[in-house]
């Protein structure tokens, strides 16, 4: 079998940077939220891959298996995923209301509207 080394970290870093880039570079709020999700997923990947023990199996007690993967990071990520869902839901709710209030979800347009408001 080919030795892949610590490739999982590269995946994590790639996802993380992608997410961060989207959050920073995109003006569309929905896209920002997607970026945020990718960012969160990268950390989830990080935890999950961290729990893997080489040759280990799912941590359910059964005859014939000696090595189990560490279940704790997975359990932690269950919580983190819920947090992520809650964040996304709240963010989307806010975006919907922003769309109703401003008529747009583009950040630069919103900023334009706000600065006009300040000027008047």
């Amino acid at each position: 079998m080919i030795e892949w080394g610590l490739y999982n970290y590269w995946v994590v870093i790639f996802l993380m940077m992608t997410g961060l880039y989207v959050v920073i570079a995109r003006g569309n709020l929905i896209k920002k939220i997607i970026g945020l999700n990718i960012f969160q997923v990268s950390v989830i990947m990080f935890y999950v891959s961290m729990g893997k023990v080489k040759g280990g199996t799912a941590p359910i007690e059964a005859a014939g298996f000696e090595v189990y993967s560490n279940p704790l990071p997975h359990v932690l990520m269950l919580t983190a995923i819920v947090v992520g869902v809650a964040t996304t839901a709240l963010a989307l709710a806010l975006v919907v209301r922003i769309k109703e209030a401003y008529g747009t979800i583009e950040e630069d347009e919103i900023r334009q509207i706000e600065s006009n408001e300040d000027a008047s």
Binding site: I60, A89, A93, V96, E100
Partner: protein, 141 residues
């Protein structure tokens, strides 16, 4: 989707099964893979599927938002209530062993109730989130 007969018929068959499966996952969860989160999401998915196919209004008839809100709160109350009950039974917070005379029995009972609480809340929350988004900009409640 009212006019699409095939999905409607199929889903009529599927939705009860989905919900049944959710209950299976729910009650299997205390000593096997599964649990309240998964069950709640599956159950919520059933509700959402129903709403997709039969329309939001009809779905709201079946699952009233007020009721969902109640279940949302009740699930958490159940969870926390078990924890508090453990305190009054003489143990620490959420120490299920104290819930019954036999610690193993207590653990079973505790996890069962807690997972039920989680499942209820998650299902209600999923449905509520969907209703909120889907209902936006329509009748505006």
């Amino acid at each position: 989707m009212i006019s699409h007969h095939i999905p409607r018929v199929l889903s009529k068959l599927l939705i009860p099964l989905i919900m049944l499966f959710a209950l299976y996952v729910q009650f299997h969860g205390d000593y096997g893979p599964g649990g309240g989160f998964q069950a709640g999401v599956i159950f919520g998915a059933g509700i959402i599927l129903y709403a997709l196919l039969f329309g939001l209004d009809q779905a709201k008839e079946v699952f009233r938002p007020r009721a969902l809100e109640f279940f949302m709160a009740a699930g958490v109350l159940l969870y926390g209530g078990v924890g508090i009950a453990a305190i009054f039974a003489g143990g620490n917070f959420l120490a299920y062993s104290a819930l019954a005379h036999d610690p193993t029995h207590g653990q079973h009972l505790g996890i069962l109730l807690v997972e039920l609480g989680v499942g209820t809340t998650v299902a209600a929350v999923m449905a509520t989130i969907f209703f909120q988004f889907a209902g936006r900009g329509r009748t505006d409640d």
